[in-house]
């Protein structure tokens, strides 16, 4: 068994494009769950709209890429409004159920044969990332060596853009959470009635948080579409939301760097056993007999256990403070 290879795969995941994707989703979720106390279980639906906003505008309607990016940001904001207006006045679990249902509805609609002419149904869309890679200073075909980890030029370019984006968003979240707006938002999370008694319009604050977080999720979708250069509806399954959720809880909700640290560590933690198992089943005489599918499923089992155990025993995650995450219905 090649230990070094296993570690390299895991470290590559830590800084690779998928960590950026989940970091973006988790930053959005952090605004929802961490700062505003909203349960959004459909974050992947926002990402789906972001990604398809780009894909549909550029591939189906032949618009330039910047137009696609704008639509990819506007659609998640619209979805947040639509979901928020009915559910934000109700108890927290209604939003959870409505968002998970909306994400599933969106995925089913975009993969349906009925929408084939617009979304390409299960085949998805591709061939829209040209302008994005054209800006890249790196050579697409070449593999670059980064501390023993190899990345293609295009991935490296996506990583540079993605991590810059993540840092900028962290700055925005820092400024927001230390602004009067952020303080009211936390007050709403702690005690809605008290905030209302002070004359704050609780609904509007929650809605702003939902829209903003949803748009950041949409940005995640846009990033993913440009990085993978394709969109496939089945990538946007509900499980993805919970990857981001797991990352958020691990890193620490209601902290600026929690979601980013969580997304990096999360992939490291999940990839390590994954890579070990893959090595154990490979070769003519495998150590354990598991199929590729079963190994793939193992990371979901670990994810579920991680979410449940963290939530009970360390809800504040690595960076958070326990006082901030004592949520109650």
């Amino acid at each position: 068994m090649d230990l070094l290879a296993v570690l390299q795969v895991s470290f590559a995941q830590m800084i690779g494009p998928s960590a950026i994707f989940y970091a973006l989703l988790a930053i959005g979720l952090n605004l929802h769950f961490g700062y505003a106390g909203l349960l959004n279980f459909g974050q992947i639906g926002f990402a789906l709209l972001g990604g398809y906003g780009v894909g549909i505008m550029t591939v189906t309607y032949g618009q330039p890429l910047w137009m696609g990016v704008l639509v990819g940001l506007a659609l998640p904001a619209l979805l947040a409004l639509l979901l928020g207006i009915p559910t934000l006045r109700l108890r927290a679990d209604y939003l959870a159920i409505a968002t998970i249902a909306a994400a599933e509805i969106l995925r089913l609609m975009f993969r349906s044969t009925a929408s084939d002419s617009v979304t390409g149904s299960t085949r998805g869309l591709w061939g829209f990332a040209g302008p994005f890679t054209a800006w890249s200073p790196f050579d697409s075909g070449k593999q670059y060596n980064l501390l023993g980890m190899r990345f293609y030029g295009d991935d490296l370019w996506a990583m540079v853009v993605g991590w810059t984006l993540v840092l900028v968003l962290c700055g925005v979240v820092y400024l927001l959470s230390h602004s009067p707006w952020g303080r009211v938002l936390k007050a709403v999370r702690e005690d809605e009635d008290a905030a209302r008694a002070l004359g704050k319009n609780v609904f509007v604050y929650k809605m702003q948080a939902l829209v903003l977080g949803g748009m950041i999720g949409g940005l995640g979708g846009i990033f993913n579409a440009l990085q993978t250069k394709s969109i496939n509806p089945d990538f946007y399954s509900t499980a993805q939301t919970f990857f981001a959720f797991g990352a958020l809880i691990l890193g620490g909700a209601a902290t600026v760097f929690g979601p980013v640290l969580g997304a990096m560590l999360f992939w490291f933690i999940l990839t390590l056993p994954d890579a070990f198992l893959r090595q154990a089943i490979s070769g003519p005489d495998p150590l354990i007999s598991l199929t590729e599918q079963q190994v793939g499923a193992m990371r979901f089992v670990l994810l579920g256990i991680l979410i449940a155990v963290m939530m009970v025993f360390r809800p504040q995650g690595i960076l958070g403070s326990k006082r901030e995450v004592q949520l109650d219905a």
Binding site: L81, I85, L90, T122, W126, I305, V312
Partner: protein, 453 residues
Amino acid sequence: MAPTVRLRRRRWASGFQIVLLLLAAVFGLAIGAGTAAAQDPPEPSPTGTTAPPADAPPVADDAVTVRGTLNNAGERLDGVTVRASDAAGEVVGETESADGGRWELAVPPGTYVFEVIGESLPDDVTVQSTVTRDVAAGQPNTVIFSFGEARSGSNVAFAETLIRTIVDGLRFGLIIAIAGVGLSLIFGTTGLTNFAHGELVTLGAVAAWVFNVSFGIHLIPATILAIIVGVIIGWLNNALVWAPLRRRRTGLIAQLVVSIGLAIALRYLILIFFSDRAQPYSDYQAQRQLQWGPLAITPVNLACIVISLVVLVGVALLLQRTRIGKAMRAVADNRDLAASSGIDVEKVIRFVWGLGGGLAALGGVLFGLSELGGRVQWEMGFKLLLLMFAGIILGGLGTAYGALLGCVVVGLLVQLSTLVINPDLKYIGGLLVLIVILVIRPQGILGSRTRIG
């Protein structure tokens, strides 16, 4: 807090209707015009990437793999010949579909006509037409065939279709209700929104499959055994996870997140230990429809309806007449008052979990038998979960009778929507109800205002 909320809701009332329209517009954007195909796309692997099968035949470097799954209304067709010919009519490739109806052909890039050879099909199955497709490298090449009569021909009277759809809808609704009553009762007595309830459904169906296929027990006793297993799983769920969490005074939102974690872990454990594909029960596979005038139904589906009705009436009697049933309603209504009038709340909750687990297991078997064509599938519970939530919220979260009513309505809506929209979108109808009901009447049909705060 309540009065302000009520006032403001009224002011928003017209806004809500605009929102509904917008909602329809956003979702409608995705539906273009298209033809109906009676076929699923190839199943995605859970990791999101499709690994090529290991036994793919060796092909020339420039060849492109074209694949598909032969699916005749849920029935996978294996041993069927698929042929590809070029523009000149020359055959460039031929293959036979494997287990699960999957097939693959490697051809050089170009335009081909794909056809299913009629003689290789089972007797009662016909294919609609051939498929012409540009095959190119670097893109997924999937060919979909439609079986049965083409949908354009309206040789079946609309009234007849309507009656069949309504019967289908009732059956589906009753199954959702069987599985969902437990979810509603658990919410009512403990306040927990249990996202892991779908896995109780899957576990029940899988337990019945294990007894039925692995141990060779007939499906009826196997189902009874599965219900017992379901009761035990429900009881264990409470004893191992939720009772300790209640003792720790974990918040309800934290419990909700824990239930999500539990659901994901259980779902993928089922995938690992059961199967990543749909597995059929060994009984009641080939079913002939019984015909009464315009009404046609298979014996299994008829049995599903009868069993569901009997069980649901039984549950209603239990709630209405027995001591434990009255105690359950009392706890759901006001936990503290129930406790102070001498009801052992924890005992009631244990009973509710056992009952919910057993009903979910039965619901799982019936769901597999009637909706999934006699098959068990690892994520069937999750598919049902969202519809259960839709039904329960429609009826009123936490009320037992409301859950029954709401679930039946959702089942009907899901099936009736197939009259208007593409069948592969049918679950969307049920889920849209969920969002619409939250807009119009969040307490549900039978729910009370105080619960939703």
